[in-house]
Amino acid sequence: MAMTPEQRATLEDVTQFIYREARLQDEHAYDAWEALWTDDGVYWVPANGEGGDPEQEMSILYDNRSRIALRIRQFHTGKRFSQTPRSGLRRVVSNIEVIGDDGKEVRVCSNAIVFESHVRGDTIWASRNEYTLRREGEGFRMARKKVVLVNNGTALWSMAFLI
């Protein structure tokens, strides 16, 4: 099904937003990354598959906006030893698809492969990411990001960077 010019423009805009988010994460640009969030943002990394109900089951990450801020403040102390030294990170984001758009919020999916170099050794992480991006002014902010790691049902190495 052919996209309308408006849909093409939206896809281009959200793609640029997601690329930018990936770069800020790779470069540990925590403050700029935090600024991408809306005030009611939710950052969710389920454990054990798609994650069921995060209000009932354990998740690897289930941060509301204030916990996201706490996470960033912890990084800034310089004593977050699991990220001292910081992991070397590069991620490739692909398969970006707009799956919903009500004019106010756009729902987007992507795949991501993250290469991490850590004191422990090198790790490759793979995930399906789901975003809810809210239109604000000329751009977007993240209202929700869900990262479903392919191997989240198995035992995982520490993952103290922003996934």
Binding site: A47, E55, Q56, M58, I60, F81, V119, R120, L156, S158
Partner: protein, 429 residues
């Protein structure tokens, strides 16, 4: 012995059995205990496949025919509840050709069928049948069931298994740790703990004993967790300082704890152990008062739950349980979940939220502990010095009213207790 005395260098002799009395001394342990693959194999035999090991909780298999995949050390074990309600621990190995009979994490099944040649087993392990039975003339079917963990026993819902037919009873093994489990259960208005929130599984490149020691090491929090204490008003940091009235304790049998109650009693505020107040948990408080009477409920809510490491693998950390699983000499998995108290939904929600924040691969606390485990593992591969020094607080170690060794909050009384028990187990093997 002077605390700084030189300990005897050890020349590893691969042909001889390790000399445990040389490797484990009163306040020094040898670095090879964390790195030698032969020692790891000896530990599997002498500890993991002999003593009582925590496996799972009855609430994980609430209904007849429920099962869940668990482990004893690196060995997978299926914990089942049979039709009659009894709990069984089965080895996940078809007695025919060795195939896995179960590959899903949990479910409900009256039987397990091996996909290779169709042998079928009841969920208590008994062989139900095999295809084309005329091919077996004199096979003793009673001996062709799934392997079973020799002894299975639960205490207040906590299921333990021992692969040895004989040995100390679970009660003898747990000893004073039973009272700690009682205290955990008593924090529930219905006297029961539930393990229903699902596990996080966190893998570290480290020997399992670094984790066991760290769980009740009251010396490290001020440093390892400084980043989160600095930015969150958790109130945990002051519990583990040189001014703290909290004590560390060695219960014997390898069980150790940080007893924080003296500090909580000094604060004298119900629920301060959990960083909150009774007013914020009105439903819970009311149910506790109704269940235990106001006086006892107040005492329980001031004391809080224990911080106890039950050797070798169950760590109850106030609001969570950790299950330590050794995989290899330098690889360990921590399984962790929030404790849930029966009849306390408002408290349970907070326990899940705090647990998700603090532990697991990305946790505010545990990611940094994991970093320390991994760096100590790298460190002990260096040859000089060969030994690790565990002498902190030895001069002020004393006995409590029950005769258990105690030290100050930051002392290494727990580590010395763990190693004393370890050496006894390894020497007895």
């Amino acid at each position: 012995m002077d605390n700084c005395a030189t300990v005897i260098p050890i020349v590893p002799d691969r042909s001889a059995a390790p000399r445990w009395d040389q490797l484990v001394q009163a306040d020094h342990v040898h670095g090879s205990l964390y790195t030698d693959p032969a020692i790891f194999q000896a530990e599997l035999a002498a500890i993991w496949f002999r003593t009582w090991v925590y496996v799972g909780h009855e609430s994980e298999v609430p209904n007849p025919n429920d099962y869940v995949m668990k482990s004893i050390g690196p060995e997978p074990v299926i914990m089942t509840r049979a039709k009659d309600g009894s709990i069984h621990l089965l080895h996940n190995r078809c007695p025919h050709r060795g195939n896995r009979v179960c590959v899903t994490d949990k479910g409900n099944a009256r039987s397990f069928t091996c996909p290779y040649h169709g042998w079928t087993f009841a969920n208590d392990g008994a062989l139900k049948g095999y295809p084309f039975p005329s091919g077996y003339e004199d096979a003793d079917r009673s001996k062709l069931g799934l392997g079973k963990v020799a002894r299975v026993q639960s205490y207040r819902g906590f299921v333990f298994g021992s692969m040895a037919e004989e040995g100390p009873t679970l009660e003898e093994h747990l000893g004073a740790a039973m009272k700690a489990i009682d205290a955990v259960c008593e924090t529930s208005p219905e006297g029961e703990v539930q393990v229903t929130a699902g596990f996080l599984k966190h893998k570290v490149r480290s020997n399992w004993k670094f984790l066991v020691e760290n769980e009740t090491d009251g010396y490290h929090p001020s440093f390892v967790h400084a980043s989160i204490f600095e930015v969150a008003q958790s109130g945990i940091g002051t519990l583990y300082s040189s001014e703290s009235t909290a004590v560390s304790r060695d219960f014997g049998n390898g069980h150790t704890e940080n007893d924080l109650r003296p500090e909580f009693r000094k604060r004298d505020v119900p629920m301060s152990w959990f960083g909150t107040t009774a007013e914020k948990l009105p439903e819970y408080t009311q149910k506790m008062n109704a269940a235990y009477g106001e006086e006892k409920a107040r005492r329980i809510m001031i004391d809080g739950t224990p911080h106890i490491m039950i050797f070798p693998n169950l760590f109850i950390a106030e609001i969570q349980i950790f299950v330590i699983q050794p995989i290899a000499v330098n690889e360990t998995v921590q399984h962790v979940t929030a404790l849930q108290f029966k009849g306390a939904p408002d408290l349970n929600r907070r326990m899940r939220q705090q647990t998700m924040g603090s532990v697991g691969p990305a946790g505010f606390l545990l990611a940094d502990d994991a970093e320390m485990y991994e760096r100590t593992q790298l460190g002990v591969q260096s040859q000089n010095p060969e030994w690790l020094y565990l002498g902190r607080g030895r001069h002020r170690e004393r006995r409590d009213e029950n005769g258990f060794r105690i030290g100050d909050a930051t002392d290494e009384t727990p580590s010395r207790g763990i190693w004393r028990h370890y050496r006894a187990l390894m020497e007895a093997a």
